[in-house]
Amino acid sequence: MIPVELYIGLAVIIFTIGLYGFMTQRSGIRMLMSVELMLNSANLNLVAFSSYNADLTGQVFALYSIALAACEAAIGFAILMAIFRMKDTINLDSFNVLRW
């Protein structure tokens, strides 16, 4: 039986990849992809602890978390489309003001 530390270690590695991508990439699509990586590592933790404690609550909340990630991705891509329509770029370094 695989110890639960390996699942958490994998989740930590995926979270770090997402964090690194979120800190370094400036393209909006890539930042959204990194956010998805971080959310999925949290889901992996939820499912791992749910399995190893024989309690289904974590898996139910992983489902809710996946649905919230879908909401976040939809809103994020809509915002990216709006700002691309405004400035013809999605490089988020060129959006440093909050009003136009």
Partner: protein
Amino acid sequence: MMNNEITINPMKILTSVYNFFRPRILGMTVAFLFLAVLMVSVFFTSWPAVDQIPQNLDDPSNIQGIGVMIFTDFVVPFEILSIILLSSLMGAIYMAKGDGSQ
């Protein structure tokens, strides 16, 4: 005939490596420190876990249990999630639609 042998210039390789890592070194340092802290705190903690995953050999999936829990214990987050999905869908369509110029 062209003499296009490949010359290995170590200074050029070092320069290209430096130019690759130069804008990324701060992010890599922070990410590596974060990874180190989390790895130490993961592998030096005794996690509460059962020794053996209970297996139901007749039905190894737990989809039925998840569905029962969604509609009994967690029905309030389920309804809230439906409203959140609807509102985010409406907001996304409103933002992606534009101002009606096209």
